[in-house]
């Protein structure tokens, strides 16, 4: 009888352990797997650019919502559209799961020579409603990128086309207009779906 009681006790203990394990796996995760959160948010530097409607905007455009900010250009054939598609898919996935707070997707052009507000507008609209495109003079773009540690450099023309090397990171800007965290490339939907609720909720 004592042996039987021992087996029952072990079975109960194992059940409790299994329950605790399952509970730990289903609780909301608290640690980002990909995002690097800065110890303290850094204010986005001052700049003066145009949005996709040709309206002048400054650093205050980043206040009031969470932003996912990517630096690219519309003539980029694969990395840029693939990254924006990842962001759009992650945002939709979060929306479908019932998340109320969703980030805005922002594309800052590093190729203002070709990316007019109109061209940029058609491009960012393709990836969903409410996206923001920023373009303007090279000097003003460099004010923004320089203050955020973003690199870009136009390459010598090769035939009719030229390329622009650029940082592949996606920056997360908080509703106070502060550079809060970043995702390094390559970008994966699951990483954003996992990390964004933590990043945005942990503020």
């Amino acid at each position: 009888m004592r042996l039987r009681n021992l087996f029952v006790a072990i079975a109960l203990a194992l059940t409790a352990l299994a329950g605790a394990y399952v509970a730990s796996r289903t609780e909301a995760p608290s640690t980002p797997v990909s995002a690097l959160v800065l110890p303290a948010a850094n204010p986005v530097p001052e700049f003066s650019l145009l949005n996709q409607r040709g309206e002048p905007v400054d650093q205050n455009v980043f206040k009031g919502q969470w932003d996912l900010v990517f630096f690219g250009f519309t003539h980029c054939p694969d990395i840029c559209p693939a990254t924006l598609q990842v962001l759009a898919t992650a945002k939709k996935t979060l929306a479908d799961s019932g998340r109320q707070v969703l980030p805005r997707i922002v594309l800052v052009s590093v190729d203002p020579e070709r990316d007019t507000p109109e061209i940029l507008g058609k491009y960012v609209d393709y990836f969903g409603d409410g996206n923001l495109g920023l373009t303007g003079t090279l000097d003003e773009i460099r004010k923004l990128t320089g203050g955020l540690g973003i690199y870009f450099e136009k390459q010598p023309a090769n035939g009719e086309n030229y390329n622009v090397d650029h940082s592949a990171a996606v920056l997360v800007v908080d509703p106070d207009g502060g550079f809060h965290s970043l995702f390094s490339g390559p970008h994966v939907v699951d990483s954003y779906v996992h990390d964004l609720p933590i990043v945005m909720g942990g503020r």
Binding site: P77, D125, A168
Partner: protein, 140 residues
């Protein structure tokens, strides 16, 4: 002369032989997006012969210009360069994919539902690929 014979054989057999010396599979061509005058082409190209093959030029009636490019992501920087040719090793294959080698198709002409690509090696045609867009296809 030998290379001419090889390429002629490639071209002829690619057009109808049971086992083509050069095969292209998993083709994806992105539709030109709003605001852009270019697309990208991705596929796997396989060389079934005993000799390496160089694809030196690709043409299409649907695009004014096509270049062979390679994107890289190193140290957090995205770069893209024209590489000029695709070297397909003997009995090997090369994958053109996002973030890597790809065709850059520029200045689209009249595009309805299909795109034809003509592959050349040293000015000799070696392969023709017909690609049709699907209704549900996502552009990127």
């Amino acid at each position: 002369m030998r290379i001419f014979a090889v390429l002629l054989t490639l071209f002829l057999t690619a057009c109808g032989a049971p086992e083509s010396p050069v095969v292209v599979s998993d083709v994806e061509i992105t539709r030109p997006m709003p605001g852009r005058h270019m697309s990208a082409g991705f596929f796997v190209i396989t060389n079934n012969t005993k000799e390496a093959i160089r694809i030196t030029r690709v043409e299409s009636p649907q695009f004014a210009s096509i270049e062979i490019h390679e994107s890289t992501l190193e140290d957090g920087i995205s770069r893209m360069r024209e590489i000029g040719e695709l070297l397909i090793p003997a009995r090997g294959s090369v994958t053109l994919e996002r973030g890597g080698k790809h065709l850059m198709l520029m200045r689209p002409q009249e595009i309805d539902r299909s795109v034809t690509l003509h592959f050349f090696s040293n000015e000799m045609p070696v392969l023709r690929v017909d690609y049709s867009f699907t209704d549900t296809e996502k552009d990127q």
